[in-house]
């Protein structure tokens, strides 16, 4: 495996599915107890960043649903991406 393939992708480029899958891998490693104390800070930080990425993408998705539901006239007006803080 080339070295760059082992470098974790920047969290902000991940899709929801990718971020969730990696987060699940981290959680299952933690549950199995095979994370060393000496490296735990790095893996927890990665997990926290992935969790935040998932939360951010969910929030964006919720805002799009909200936009459709609140369209005037009761008709779907298409999906318009909102700026979400």
């Amino acid at each position: 495996m080339p070295a760059e393939a082992r470098t974790p992708a920047a969290v902000e480029t991940l899709t929801f599915e990718q971020a969730l899958a990696e987060l699940e891998t981290i959680v299952s490693r933690l549950e199995r107890g095979d994370v060393a104390l000496a490296e735990s800070i790095a893996i927890y930080e990665r997990g926290e960043a992935l969790k935040n990425r998932c939360a951010e993408l969910l929030k964006e998705a919720e805002a799009r649903v909200e936009k459709i539901r609140l369209s005037p006239g009761g008709k779907p007006a298409g999906i318009e991406k909102l700026d979400v803080e």
Binding site: L30, E31, G33, D34, V35, A36, L37, A38, S40, I41, Y44, E45, G47, E48
Partner: protein
């Protein structure tokens, strides 16, 4: 009477691989910090070896045999994700537990006001039958049991402010209402245990903190969720699992405590100990991996103990 400091060059001989955070230099940093003139009033003692029956107060016999069996004749062997043995490690671990028991003897029998044990390897991750997270024998658990078995203490409280949760101590005393275990720690973080919902037999008190939390959050959690419980418990002795890796400089965690926060916590535990158990405190070094942060935090902790 004075504060007792137990330190011993034997603790430098438990060796770990190059680059490992739980390294002998930690104790050199502690020794340098406590070598200043203002610590001239300490009573100093070396560490006696614990008899095997002391270790068995908190560990299974087959686990102790396993450690002995795995001891290398030379070099260093890995026995767990974070934990290693060098040829001297078993003896060193017996001396760390022995130092903790000796500190209990001296404090309970009134020859020392309180005590700090600067030993390694640390202990609070070690469970009854397995090493974990740099720890071989659970020194705090052994000391607590020793106080009960040898000195007739009814209730012992263990206050753990290491940044990692003391899963080993919690597991050993999970269903024992005669021992209170209270811990502040960063969560989520290694070892993954320590949620507030883990309460054992009503004797376990966990106050998890978040990454980035500072002295204010730590002090509130310690006072409201740990020390208030210790007061209701009315202990005969308080043992501190004194890790200093919640210091802002520490590389293994993300809390932002300063040396004066450890001085505050020390004083708060001393006030409780004065009220309930004649000031009897035995403090045992756990983690703390930044040498500057460790040195200044230990100095703040021990100088506060000396002001009893």
């Amino acid at each position: 009477m004075a504060t007792l400091l137990i330190e011993d060059p034997v603790f430098l001989t438990h060796r770990v691989p190059h680059g490992h955070p739980e390294r002998p230099a930690r104790l050199e940093a502690v020794s340098t910090a406590l070598g200043e003139d203002r610590f001239g009033g300490l009573m100093r003692s070396n560490a006696p070896e614990a008899a095997l029956d002391r270790i068995l107060l908190a560990h299974d016999g087959h686990y102790v045999e396993e450690i002995q069996k795995e001891l290398p004749e030379s070099g260093i062997v890995q026995i767990e994700a974070d934990s290693y043995l060098s040829p001297e490690s078993y003896t060193v671990a017996l001396r760390a537990a022995g130092a903790a028991c000796h500190a209990v003897d001296e404090v309970i029998e009134g020859r020392a006001t309180n005590a700090f044990v600067a030993a390694r390897p640390p202990g609070h991750h070690a469970e009854r039958d397995r090493p974990m997270g740099f720890c071989l024998f659970n020194n705090a658990a052994i000391a607590a049991r020793h106080a009960q078995e040898r000195h007739g203490a009814s209730r012992v409280a263990i206050v753990d402010w290491d940044v990692h949760h003391g899963n080993g101590t919690q597991a050993i005393f999970w269903d024992d209402p005669s021992i209170l275990y209270g811990s502040t720690h960063q969560m989520p973080l290694y070892p993954g245990t320590g949620a507030a919902s883990e309460t054992g037999a009503g004797n376990i008190f966990n106050a998890p903190l978040h990454e980035g939390d500072e002295g204010d959050e730590f002090r509130t959690a310690m006072a409201e969720r740990i020390l208030s419980a210790v007061g209701r418990f009315s202990p005969d002795l308080i043992i501190i699992s004194a890790g200093f890796d919640a210091h802002w400089r520490d590389p293994l965690a993300g809390l932002n405590l300063k040396a004066e926060d450890f001085a505050w916590a020390t004083k708060a535990v001393m006030d409780l100990a004065d009220r309930y158990c004649g000031g009897r405190i035995v403090s045992l070094l756990e983690g703390g991996y930044d040498l500057t942060g460790l040195g200044e935090s230990v100095a703040a902790h021990v100088s506060t103990l000396m002001a009893a």
